[in-house]
């Protein structure tokens, strides 16, 4: 207690990012010097404001973004007075006064009040439904609006506006972004990069009205629309103003501290009153105000030094760089990129890859950089920019980035290897490569979370996560992969099948290049293992939306026939449930003769196989089979193959149910569906099991009282009897359970993982719970399967035989007489 009395009192106004960063830095330097009290208007601990955008977009929760919980304040003997606003600073008595009238004395005072969103002085701006984008309260209101209303207008096409618009769109609203100028993010981007950004946001469904000036906000009890300078109007249930921020210095100004556009501070972050410090967005330092965390964290360090009475550090301003936090869009900008007579620029534009890079040079030095689509070298350019490196010797290859100047590798690891130790990796927290490498090797760190905890790298906006992971991989070398970890999908990535599937859904990734880019694939176009897997995952996740990528399909699925050892193909027409007719058999015989097909064989799945068909004959063979009413048997597919049946109650003296009819029904419902690996079904009319149903992926054994459903059998490389799933009473229920089971497998199975392996991995009980016990879930699975079948059930043979799909595939490009 005595101790406490003798300690100096530090009062902090503003429980935000800059204020608390200062306190943290102070505790590191002088843990016992002050008795600290923090006032914050917001009713929370300190959270990462930057990540409000992903919270709005539904990618993170409020809990995820907490930086210092209430416990942290207690553990460090800090009095946190959350939910309390300071309304006055009494410099005469050295006290602050809360809005409730409480007076609290200070020896030193730190003002870190941040800034407020600018609300345009438009008629109607006070209407409910008109908000800024600054804190958790705003995000809550936006999320609430998105569940009750449809149309949102975001005023302002800068960083904040676009992140708000993206989040609202992800929440299902129709979003229009209104921007005064004709380039988005004009402070960070040049018109070309702005145009690329606009295009990709438009592709995601965002609408832009620009250039346009908002004139009035319409509505009586709540906003209903917006009117523009040209007289047009737009319906809106929510208007978000994101036109800029205004440093929050009213309190300081009232206390007589000198303010211009912010609270004016010295190089030691002191205001004109030496006992009062200020940091953060509320500050003006050497005529500059800042709106990004990196410079604020620099200020925090300097301020903490001075408060700790180790007053040797001074702050001389920061150069900033920006990344847009819209998932799936890579954008980086730094420095000054306005064209000028004394400046040179190097531009690389690759429309195919959606890449644009512009590096601006002045006096042999980089003064600005705008990168779009490929931002891996952003930190590297930024480093040279800040260091003022003479880059004339590498001018030629500069635009290709660090990797190209190093050892020419295409993947990120090399570019990380080529970075100097001083290269900044995490811009928010100012952590350079050397510091991360040092922490990894000295503290024996193995995971991203360790690195975050020890260095703070990648713990603020998260944009540098990929780079930090690469530094980890590069530093640990072999050890990194040896660390306990799930198996990667293939050598092109460190991510597992499950990660990839999850991220595809979460980030709404809809093309193979988008997945590879977002998940930082290590190879340019993947390989024969990952491309078919990604193609399947996208197809299964976005039925009807994803365009099947033929070049990522194994040849059998590309030409809808099975390749044989001599490069010819085999063709298997579908015979529903293994039942055929004389006219079908005749057509098969005719085709075999007409095209000189050398071998005709009965398969294990009760079909007829025509082997040895030349590739160029395939379309004609199919045309003839189509004419006889037959379609592709998908004998080549990672998909539903065959349903094998016995003759059942129709003919067999032991038959209990119509096993043939049920098999046909199942096959007609399920044909054409793609699955992680092949799926074969069997239906037997009694437990004598002539259709061998109990070694199939899914098997039905009919009994007097109904249908036993079995699954997860195999009779290939491994032999395994099925597991009993459940017994049902009707054909319809049988269909529903089997379809739901298959859909669950489609959604969770790893590519090329047979159903029995999937069952081993996730567990029989887990599966039973979701497709048998939880009836609502079963119905939902069934509905999703049925939905995707709308798009899957077109006969690929007919498309190619008579509708000319992929015609090129089957004919040679040229025939040369002489060679």
């Amino acid at each position: 207690m005595l101790d406490k009395v003798t300690k100096q009192k530090l009062v902090v106004i503003g429980n935000g990012m800059a204020g608390i960063r200062t306190v943290e830095a102070l505790l590191e330097r002088a843990p016992d010097l002050y008795d600290i009290t923090v006032f914050g208007s917001e009713p929370y601990g300190n959270y990462n404001r930057i990540l409000l955008s992903p919270v709005l977009a539904g990618e993170k929760t409020v809990d995820d973004i907490m930086l210092n919980t209430v416990d942290w304040y207690e553990d460090n003997n800090i009095t946190l007075r959350k939910g309390e606003t300071i309304s006055m600073i009494d410099r005469r008595t050295c006290e602050v006064v809360t809005d409730a009238g409480d007076r609290v004395p200070y020896d030193r005072l730190l003002i870190a009040t941040g800034s407020n969103p600018i609300m345009l002085p438009l008629p109607g701006k006070e209407l409910p439904g008109v908000i800024g984008f600054r804190d958790i309260y705003d995000v809550d209101r936006m999320i609430k609006a998105s569940t009750n209303y449809r149309n949102a207008v975001v005023i302002g096409g800068g960083l904040l506006g676009l992140e708000a618009a993206n989040g609202l769109m992800k929440r299902g609203m129709n979003v229009t972004v209104v921007h005064l100028l004709d380039t988005l993010m004009e402070r960070q981007l040049d018109p070309v990069a702005g145009g690329l950004l606009r295009k990709s946001l438009e592709e995601r469904g965002m609408v832009f009205k620009m250039p346009a000036q908002t004139q009035a906000i319409l509505g009586e009890d709540r906003v209903t629309g917006v009117r523009f300078g040209d007289g047009t109007e737009l319906a809106a249930d929510l208007v978000v103003m994101a036109v800029g921020i205004r440093p929050n210095f009213e309190l300081a100004k009232k206390a007589g501290l000198y303010c211009e556009r912010g609270i004016v501070v010295s190089d030691t972050m002191q205001t004109y009153d030496g006992r009062i410090y200020a940091v953060g967005e509320c500050v003006q330092h050497r005529r500059q105000t800042y709106g990004l965390v990196a410079p604020l964290f620099d200020q925090a360090k300097v301020c903490a030094n001075h408060l700790a009475m180790k007053g040797f550090a001074t702050y001389d301003g920061s150069v900033t760089s920006t990344k847009l936090k819209v998932t799936g869009i890579d954008l980086f900008s730094a420095g000054d990129f306005a064209p000028g007579p004394d400046k040179e620029e190097i531009v690389l534009q690759d429309a195919n890859r959606g890449v644009y890079k512009r590096i601006i040079l002045k006096d042999k030095k980089i003064v600005g950089a705008v990168l779009y689509g490929d931002t891996i070298d952003g930190p590297w350019y930024f480093q040279h920019l800040r260091d003022g490196t003479d880059v004339s010797h590498m001018r030629e290859r500069l635009v290709f980035g660090a990797a190209n100047l190093g050892d020419g590798g295409v993947n990120g690891q090399n570019s990380v290897a080529a970075m100097s130790d001083e290269t900044e990796i995490c811009g928010c927290n100012g952590v350079c490569k050397g510091a991360i490498v040092k922490a990894i090797s000295e503290k024996k760190l193995f995971t991203l979370d360790d690195v975050r905890a020890h260095t703070k790298a990648s713990s603020s906006c998260g944009s540098c996560t990929g780079l930090v992971e690469q530094v980890l991989a590069f530093t640990l070398g072999g050890d990194y992969s040896a660390a306990p970890k799930v198996k990667p999908l293939c050598k092109c990535t460190d991510h597992s099948h499950d990660d990839v599937r999850r991220v595809i859904v979460e980030q709404q990734l809809k093309t193979i290049p988008a997945v590879m880019r977002f998940m930082e694939w290590k190879t340019l176009n993947g390989c024969h293992s990952c491309r078919p897997a990604l193609n399947y995952y996208l197809l299964a996740t976005w039925p009807g939306e994803y365009r099947d990528d033929q070049q990522s399909r194994f040849i059998n699925e590309r030409v809808h026939a099975n390749i044989q050892k001599d490069g010819t193909y085999s063709v298997v027409p579908r015979m529903w449930g293994g039942v055929t007719t004389p006219s079908e058999l005749r057509a098969i015989a005719d085709v075999a003769e007409k095209f000189n097909i050398p071998t005709v064989k009965v398969t294990g799945g009760q079909r007829i196989d025509l082997l040895g068909v030349k590739k160029e004959d395939l379309p004609a063979v199919w045309a003839d089979l189509n004419d006889a009413g037959m379609v592709s048997g998908h004998a080549y597919a990672k998909g539903l193959r065959t349903v094998k049946t016995c003759v059942g109650s129709e003919w067999c003296r032991f038959g209990t149910q119509d096993s043939t009819g049920l098999g046909v029904k199942l096959e007609k419902f399920m044909w054409g569906s793609w699955t992680p690996a092949k799926v074969k079904l069997g239906v037997s009319g009694c437990p004598r099991n002539c259709a061998e149903a109990t070694c199939k992926d899914v098997g039905v054994v009919c009994v007097d009282s109904g249908y036993e459903i079995h699954f997860a059998g195999a009779a290939g490389l491994h032999i395994k009897g099925t597991e009993f799933l459940t017994k049902v009473e009707t054909e319809d229920e049988t269909l529903e359970v089997i379809v739901a089971l298959t859909q669950l497998y489609r959604e969770e199975g790893w590519y090329l993982e047979r159903m029995y392996k999937w069952c081993d991995r996730v567990g029989l009980e887990q599966i039973r719970k979701r497709v048998v016990d939880d009836i609502a879930n079963r119905k939902a699975l069934f509905a999703r399967f049925a939905h995707s079948q709308q798009f899957a059930q077109t006969d690929p043979w007919a498309e190619r035989a008579s509708r000319g799909v992929d015609r090129n595939e089957f004919a040679p490009l040229a025939e040369l007489e002489l060679a």
Binding site: N352, V410, T523, L524, N525, G526, C527, H528, R531, P532, Q550, Q551, S552, R553, F554, I555, N556, V559, I563, K565, D566, G567, N808, P812, L813, A814, E815, L816, E817, L818, A819
Partner: protein, 109 residues
């Protein structure tokens, strides 16, 4: 001496795909990469003669459809640990037209 023969339009070969050119001495597979480079190789895998033209193309490589040998398009070499080499032929693109120069196997060996 190289004599170039026009064999068709670049657009007739799918990106990350391949088409076949028939010659009396066997098929030649013409590949197109993502960045529109073209490469021509005998359509025979060094392993067991699989048709490389039917494989999955990735970066500047193709995976044989029969047993997954990976072949470098530029020099026909199998990627380690596999071994073997497929005969290559000069190919180029000019103004969207693909040209091939067929090297006689006899002339090489």
């Amino acid at each position: 001496m190289t004599s170039w023969i026009e064999i068709g339009a670049l657009d007739d070969i799918p990106r990350l795909g391949s088409r076949v050119v028939r010659t009396p001495s066997g098929n030649i597979a013409v590949f197109r990469t993502e960045s529109d480079e073209v490469f021509a190789l005998d359509d025979r895998c060094p392993h067991k003669g699989g048709p490389l033209s039917q494989g999955i193309v990735h970066n500047k490589r193709v995976t044989c459809p029969l047993h997954n040998f990976v072949i470098e398009l530029a020099n026909g070499q199998a990627v380690a640990p596999d071994e073997g080499c497929t005969h290559t032929h000069p190919a180029k693109v000019e103004n969207g037209v693909v040209w091939l120069s067929v090297r006689q196997a006899a002339a090489v060996s």
